[in-house]
């Protein structure tokens, strides 16, 4: 089964002074794992498209990502 710890494998420790932990390997894409915190109500989540405030990225015409 999957290893659920968020550690860099021991054969690829990041260099001294560099970011330790999960985001340490070159030539890999990472998305930070979401941690469960506050949620909106189901009704508000439906209107917004998500119940998670930290994932809500509304778009206004004219803005660029």
């Amino acid at each position: 089964m999957a290893n659920t710890t968020r550690k860099t494998p021991s054969n690829s420790e990041p260099p001294e002074g560099k970011t330790a932990g999960y985001f340490g390997q070159l030539a890999r894409a990472y998305v930070p794992p979401q941690t469960y915190s506050r949620v909106w109500s189901p009704a508000e989540g439906l209107m917004k498209g998500t119940v998670f405030p930290e994932l809500y990225r509304p778009y206004e015409p004219g803005m660029r990502p």
Partner: protein, 190 residues
């Protein structure tokens, strides 16, 4: 196997007949970054995922994309169903009308039919998940272009919902990629 819910995931409303906007939005029905491509891509790739969490995420998101396909179909149909022949001609939808009347068909905004080469199913879970992350961003971008093109606030409201779901799906595929990397690393150790 699926259980069908006899209502849309998100309610839709259109302010008025608007075949021009329908012609643009239909690309999210049968275009390269549309909901048919998304759902079939995920529901096909799931078989070769190495861990159950990845299979589950692809099944869940592929299922939700089917629900989005239904929302887009409802938008397009409601935008064209009341259109006169003159309105259809003025909107440039007469080419489509000649082949399909006001029926739904899988085409992009320029009328090109859906093809399976829009999607890939590589068997390599890292490669497939990167395609899925890209697919979510391309769909998000398309919804932003459609929001800019929309002159109907009710339609824009639904497009905003669909766009936000792409953002959430990107996060879930990213977390899935982490899990698959961890699984592959654990295979190297043991």
């Amino acid at each position: 196997m699926w259980i069908y819910e006899k209502k849309l995931e998100y309610p839709i409303r259109v302010s008025y007949t608007n075949p021009r906007l329908a012609k643009e939005i239909i690309t999210q029905y049968g275009g390269p970054d549309g909901e048919l491509a998304a759902s079939l891509r995920y529901l096909t790739q799931r078989y070769t995922m190495p861990i159950s969490q990845a299979k589950a995420v692809l099944t869940d998101i592929g299922t939700e994309e089917l629900a989005h396909m239904e929302i887009v179909a409802s938008l397009v149909y409601n935008l064209i169903k009341g259109a006169t022949i003159d309105e259809i001609k003025a909107a440039g939808l007469d080419d489509y009308y000649a082949d399909h009347d006001k029926a739904l068909y899988f085409v992009n905004a320029a009328g090109a039919p859906w093809v399976a080469s829009y999607i890939q199913s590589k068997g390599d879970p890292i490669a497939d998940l990167h395609e899925d992350l890209a697919a979510e961003e391309k769909a998000r971008a398309t919804y932003e272009f459609l929001i800019r093109l929309s002159d109907d606030p009710d339609v824009t409201d639904t497009l905003r919902f669909l766009r936000e779901r792409e953002v959430v799906h990107f996060q879930r595929f990213g977390e899935t990629l982490n899990l698959v990397h961890e699984w592959m690393d654990s295979k190297k150790v043991f």
